[in-house]
């Protein structure tokens, strides 16, 4: 028995293996993103998911086994939302100046996010349980999964759609805002956080701290508003 093999036996029997693999893959993906100069298309989340997914399929590991280790990372999604209180407190003056634009943009964006996704999917005949799983896709993962479960969707599918939404948003937000000619970092960040939750917020924090703060606020507000309006929209849409 080599020491390396002993270590392998120990790691593979505990959740630590997949936690370690997740962190190593993430650190490598971050290096690639930094080497690209944080180009929007080189997204570390997307790289990590592709690499980890390939490793799981090639080693014949089930997602349930993987998640026993990775859940420690997943758990931190909740505390991370709580942590937004700190930049919110620090930038409160900037936030106060923008109260009215934020409220208007929140309502318009939140309704647009849900109705446009449901409309496109419904036109192509996507069945109802999948529509319910799709509806909260702009909301941060932990909250969206709860909403999907409540209305008879599949939380695990919602998680995938949420992450995909976040990736699309994080990749297109910078070029889209440049095309629209919007230079206000508060508005750009708010849109990123509303449409693309934590992954959009992470992108916004990379670009600018003010953008990141507004993204974080939008993510938190949209989680609350979507939870409130989704029952009405689903009722109207599915009957």
């Amino acid at each position: 028995m080599t020491p390396g093999f002993d270590l392998w036996v120990y790691l593979s029997s505990t959740p630590l293996l997949w936690l370690t693999v997740t962190l190593i893959v993430w650190a490598s993906a971050e290096r690639i993103a930094i080497a690209s100069g944080r180009h929007p298309a080189v997204n570390p989340v997307l790289i990590s998911i592709i690499v980890l997914g390939a490793i799981l399929i090639l080693t014949g590991t089930s997602f349930a086994t993987y998640f026993q280790g990775a859940q420690f990372v997943h758990f931190l999604l909740g505390p991370a939302i709580v942590a937004i209180a700190v930049p919110l407190y620090r930038n409160l003056d900037r936030v106060r100046e923008n109260t009215l634009p934020m409220i208007a943009a929140l309502v318009a964006g939140s309704v647009t996010a849900v109705v446009s996704a449901l409309s496109v999917a419904a036109i192509f005949g996507v069945p109802e349980p999948v529509l319910v799983s799709l509806a909260p896709k702009s909301v941060t993962a932990g909250v969206a999964m709860g909403i999907a479960e409540q209305f008879g969707g599949q939380p695990a599918l919602t998680a995938v759609l949420v992450v995909t939404t976040g990736l699309i948003g994080a990749i297109i937000v910078t070029p889209l805002m440049n095309v629209l000619g919007l230079k206000d970092y508060a508005a750009r960040g708010f849109a990123a956080g509303l449409a693309a939750h934590g992954i959009g917020t992470a992108r916004a924090f990379v670009v600018d701290e003010v953008a990141g703060t507004f993204a974080g606020i939008a993510m938190a507000l949209n989680a609350v508003l979507t939870a409130l309006i989704l029952p009405l929209i689903l009722y109207w849409f599915l009957t």
């Binding site: 993430w26 700190v86 964006g109 996507v126």
Partner: protein, 102 residues
């Protein structure tokens, strides 16, 4: 209301209590243990979505039938909601400053 959002509000209120006791200001909060912890967590925010995203391997069957349509729905919806949110935000803001100026 979702649990993490309630947590955010409690911490936010707690920061104001701490400010009233003179232990922090908005300039110094980043140098506290709490401030460092919060910014550390937010700097690595996108890592936290990786485990949920890897769940895609359990849905490859569903995605082979509805994948392209779902992706189209996400692409259209994300583009529209980004644009609508940012345009409404800047529209209301310039309307507000125009009204204040006149």
């Amino acid at each position: 209301m979702p649990g993490p959002v309630i947590g955010l509000l409690i911490l936010f209120a707690g920061l104001f209590v701490a400010q009233n006791f003179g232990s922090i200001t908005s300039a110094s909060v980043n140098d506290t243990t709490l401030g460092r912890g919060a910014s550390g967590l937010l700097q690595h925010l996108s890592l936290l979505f990786v485990p949920a995203g890897v769940g895609v391997i359990d849905h490859l069957g569903l995605l082979s039938s509805y994948g392209p349509v779902l992706f189209l729905a996400l692409l259209v919806s994300t583009t529209l909601s980004l644009a609508v949110t940012a345009l409404v935000f800047t529209g209301i803001k310039s309307w507000q400053s125009g009204r204040n100026a006149s």
